[in-house]
Amino acid sequence: MSFAARAVHTGDAATDAGTDASKVAPVRAVELDGGAALKIIKHCADASPGSATGQLLGLDIGAALDVTAAFPFPKIGNDGSYDPDGAFASEEGAEYQLDMLRCLREINVDSNIVGWYQSTYLGTFYSEELVATFLSYAESIERCVCIAYDPAYAEQGVCALKALRLSEKFVEAYEAGKGELTPENIHEKGLKWNEVVEEVPLTIRNSALATAVMGELTRGQDETLNSTDYERLDLSTAPFVEENMKLLGECMEDFANEQQKVAYYQRNMQRYQSQHAHWLQKRRQENARRRAAGEDVLPEEDPNYKAPQPPSRLENFLITNQVAEHVSQLENFTRKTEAKLELVGALAGK
C-alpha cells in the first residue's frame, strides 16, 4: 500500500527530473528499504563462503534511487560458484526472472529492475565481469546500481553494504574505445584509476510502520549494547589481516602478469619502431630518387607492418582499485585493532 501511494505521490517529481536531465542524471544516492536490506544480508550470509546474487527492484525517482525490494537468483550447479552474467544470459535464469517479476507485480511489489546485488569476499568485487554486467544492465536501464554485501567484513561489526555504479567518465572512455580501454581514451577523458567505479552513499530507510514496530520491540530493553557491539570487541585479529594480505599478494601477481604484458608490448614496439624507421628511411630515399626522376611519389604509409596494440588498461585499473580496496580495509581494520589492543593492554595492566 505504502509503496503504491508513494509512487503516486512522487510521480510528478520524477517526470520533472526526467525532463530536466533524464539522460545524464546520475544516481547520487541510494535509499534501501530495511526489509530488502535484511533479505539481501540473509541471502548473502547464508550463501557464505560461496557467493550469491539477486535482483534489486525499486523506483527510480529524483536524485535518489529507491530500492524497495529484492529477490535472490537461484544457485546454479553444486559447486556454489555463481556467475551473475552467465545466469542473466541463460534461458532458465531469464525465465525465472520474468516469472518472479510477474509474481511480484501481482502482489503489488515494485517490479522495476534497478540493479542487482551480490555478495563479495573481503571486497574482491573489482572484475571485468562487474564492468560487463553494469554495461549490459545499462542497455536496458539508464540508472542502475550494484549493492555489494561482504559477510566476512560484517563479522567485524560493521555495516558491510555498499552501493556501486560505473562512473560516467569511465563509461564514456570505454564506449569511445569501442569496448577497449585504450591509453588515448584515458588521457582524453582524464580518467584516473580511482574513477572507474563510484560508490554511492547508501541509506537504509524504514517505513514509519517498521520503525514503530522496532520501537515497540526494543521498549523496556537496554538499548546501549547489542550483539554487534560485542562483535566489535572481538580480539582475534590475525585471520582478517592474513586473508587480506593473501589477497593483496594475489593482486600483486595479477599486476605482475599485466606488467609482463606491458613489457612484451614494449619489446614489440621497439622492434616495430626500428623496423619502421628503417623502412621509412628507405622509402624516403626512394621517393627522393623518384622526385628527382620526375616519377610519382610512393605513399609513406607502411602497408605491411602494423604497430602492436597496447594492452588493455581495464584490467590494470581494476586491479589497482582492488588493491586500494584491500588497503583501505586493512587501514580501517588495523586502526580499530590498534585502539582495541591499547585498550585491552591498559585494562590488563591495571
Binding site: 584509476w193 594480505m245 600483486m252 601477481e253 588493491v323 588497503v327
Partner: protein
Amino acid sequence: QSSKFWGADSDSSEEVSDDFSDSSADSSSSSSDSEESFQGASKYLQDDSSDSSEDDRRVIQSAKERRHTELKATVSNVLNHLSSNDWPELVKSFEKLIKHIDKHYAMPEQVSNSVKRALMQVSETVDSAYADKEHRQNLSTSFSKALSALRQRVAKYMKTVSLDTNLTLSSGGDSETDDSTCDSIAKKSEVEVDKKDKNYLLYADKKDVTYEMIDEKLQDITASRGKKSTDRHEVVRHLLYVRTLAKCPAQEVEILLHIISAQFDMSNSMASCMSVATWRNCVVNVLRLLTLLKGNSHIALIEQGEPAVRVDKDTILNGGHVELAGSLCAFVERLDDEYNKSLQNIDPHTQEYMSRLQDECFLLILIDEVIGYYKDLQNAESQVKISLRLLSHIHCKTVLLYEAMRRFAFERLDTKHNHKQVIIDATQEPQISNMDSYYAADGFCFPKGKLHEVVSHLTERVYTIGDQRSKVRAILYDTFHKSVCGDYDTAREQLLMSHLQQSINHMDVDTQVLFNRCMAQIGLNAFQDGAFGTSKACLSDLLASGKARELLAQGISPGRHSVERNLEQEKLERRRQMPFHTHVNVDLLESVFLVSSILTDTHDLFIKNRQPRTSNRSFVRFIEGFERQTFNGPPEGLRDTLMCATKHLIEGNWMAASDYITNMDCWSMLPTSEERRDYVLKLIVSELKREALRTYVFQRAAYYESLCLNTLSAMFGMSVDAIQTTIHKLLAAGLAGSCDPPTTSFAVHLTEPTALHLAVTIFSEKLTVFLDANERSLGVHVETEASPQHDDEESYMKQRSARQSRDDEREDVSKLRNMRFPNVSHSTATCMNVGGDSRKGSNKRYPFTGRSL
C-alpha cells in the same frame, strides 16, 4: 719436376683404368685394348724410373714421348669413332681427349696441329650430323642422345679454345714466361735484361750506388706497395739489401721504416699472423731503428700528419734536421699484436709454443727501450700506450717466473754461442742470428729492477699521465699482479677502492675480461687465505652463468649461445682470446667456487622462508640436479664429486665429505707452496665441520627441545668451545634459541612462522618483484625518450601520449609506494605483536651470548 709429372701420370692412368672398368660391360673396342697395353708399358716405365734412374733428362723425355703416343692414340680413336658415326663411343673418347689436353698443357693452344685439326673435324662433323634432321630421326634413342650431348660439349669446348687463341694472338705470342714450358737459359737472361732498368741497383757495384739511386728505388717500392702483382717477400729482400747501401743515418732510418712496414704487409690478412722468422727480423729492425733515432737526434719521427717538405739531399747528407713519417709506438703495438696472434695460433702443448714464449723477453726489452725513448720525447700518450703493453705482458708473471726470464735474457745477451744455435734452429733467415748481438752491442738490456718495482713504476706513470681507460687498465693489471704474487689484502683493497664493480659494465670488452680475470685471481687468493665467503662472492658472477671460459676469454664454449653468434662476432671473440700461458685454470676456479659454496651455503638450504635472492642459486641448482638423479653412482668428475660431498655433509657425515674434498686432484694446481696447500686443506676440513654443525642445527633442531653441546662436540669432532662459538654466531644471525652454560646445552626456541607472517613475506616479495619490473619498463621508456625521432608527426604524437601515460604510471607507482609503506608498517606492527614472543626471547639472550664468549 719429374716427380710432379710422375704423380700426374699415375693419376691419369688410374682414371683411365676407371673408365675402362666402366665401359667393360660393352663389347670392348680396339681402343681400350690399346690403352691397356699402353698402360702396362707405362707402369713398367714408371717403376723403372722411380726405382733406378736418377737421370732427369731421360725421365722427362720418356714422359713426353709417352704423352705424345697416348695423345695420338686418343686422337686416332676419336677419328675412328667419328668416321663410323659411333656417337656414344665418340662421346667417351672425346672426353678422354679433352681431359688429356687439360691435364698436360697449360693452354689448349699448345697442342700440336694434328690434335687441333682433329678437334675441328669433330666439331664440323658433329654439327653437320646434328643439322641433318632425317639422319637424326633414324638414329636410335641412345645414339641421338649422345649426339646432342656431344654437340653441346664440343661447342662449349671450342668456344673456350678459340677465345684463348684470340688472346694469345693479341698479346703477341711472346708471353711464355712460364718456367715449366720454357726452360732455356736464354730466356731467363732476357727476363733479367727486362728488369734491369728497374733493379739495376741490386746488381750494381756498391761503390757506384748514389743517394739518388737509392731514393729512386725507394720511391719505386713505395709506389708498388699494395699492388696485387708485387711479391711482398721480394720487396723485403730488396729493401734489406738496399739498407746495407744506405749513405747516411737519415736514409737508413727511412729505409728501415719501409722495411718494417713491408714486413707487416707480408701477412696478408688480420686473421693470419706473421711468421716467427719475420717477426724476429722485424724486432731486430725496430731495435736498429731505435738505436739510430737515439744516436741521431736530428732525425725526428712524425707520428701524426704529414712530415714537412722533403729536405734536399745535401742537408740530409750533412746531418741537417730531417722529419720522417712513422711511429715507433704503432710498430711496437703491431709487433705485440702479432706476437699474441701467433701465440693464439700455435698449439700450446707443443715445443713450438715454448720456443715462441722465449721470444717474449725480446719483446719486453724492446718495449722497455721504446718507453725510454718516448720518455725522452715526453710523449705522454704513446708512453701510456706502450706502458700498458708492457704491463699486459708482465702482470701475470710471478716473481720466480720473471727472474727466470731475466736470467734467460742475460744468458742470451752475454754468451753468443748458445743463442746463435737456438735461433738458427728456429729460423732459416741468416739475419736473425745477429739479433742478440744488437742487444749486446747497443746496450739493450732487460728492464731493470725487481718485478714489483717495475710494475709499480709503470702503473704510477700511467696514473699520472694516462687517460681514464688506461688508468682503469693499470689498476686492474696492478691488482692482478699483486694477487698473483700472493698479496691478497692489498689486491682486494685496491679493487674495492677503485669502485670498478659499478662501472665495469660500461667499459670495453677487453677491460671487462681483465676485470674478470682479476676477480678470478682474487677469488683464488681469498680461498688460499681461508676467506671462503669472499672467494665465493668473487667467483659467483663468473661461474654462475656457466660461461666462465668466455668471460675470461679463454676459449669459446659451444652451447646454445653459439647459435646466436654470427661469424663476425666469432672472429672478434677469437681475436680476444688470451694466450694459453696466461690462463687461469677454470676447473680450479670451479672447484674453489663449489667448495667455498659448500662451506658457507649448505645450511642455507634449510633455513625456512629465506629470501630467494640471497641464496646461492647456482649452487642450489647443482644440488637439486644431483638429487634429481635416480641413481647416484660413484662420483666422476669435479662437480659430481663435490655434490657427493655435499650430500654427505647434509646427512651429517662430514668425514666422508672431507675425504672427497681433500682427495681432489685439482688442489695440486693451486699456485702456492706445499705447506700452504696443506694449511688450506686443514682449514677446509675444520670449516667443513663447522658447516656440518650449522646444517645439522638448521635441519634437525626443530625436533629437539634442547641439544647437549657435549654430544654435538662428539658428533662433529670439535671442542665444546668451538661448538659454542659457532652456535652463538648462529644465534646472532637470527637462529631462535638460547645457550644455557650451567648444563652446557642449547635450548631451541624454534617457532613456526604464523600464516600471517608467511602471507606478509610473500606479499612483500611479490611487491619487490613487481616494482623491479616496473622500474625496468620505465627505464625502457626513458631510454626510447632519450633518442627522440620526431621526424614524423605521428611518431611524435605517439611518444607524447606515451609520455603522458608514463607520468600517470609513475603517479600510480608513487601512490603504490606510499601505499606500501603504511601498509607494511601496519602489517609488521601486527607481526611484531603476533610473533613478538620469539623475537623478545632471542633478544633477551644477546647479553648472555656476549658473556659466554
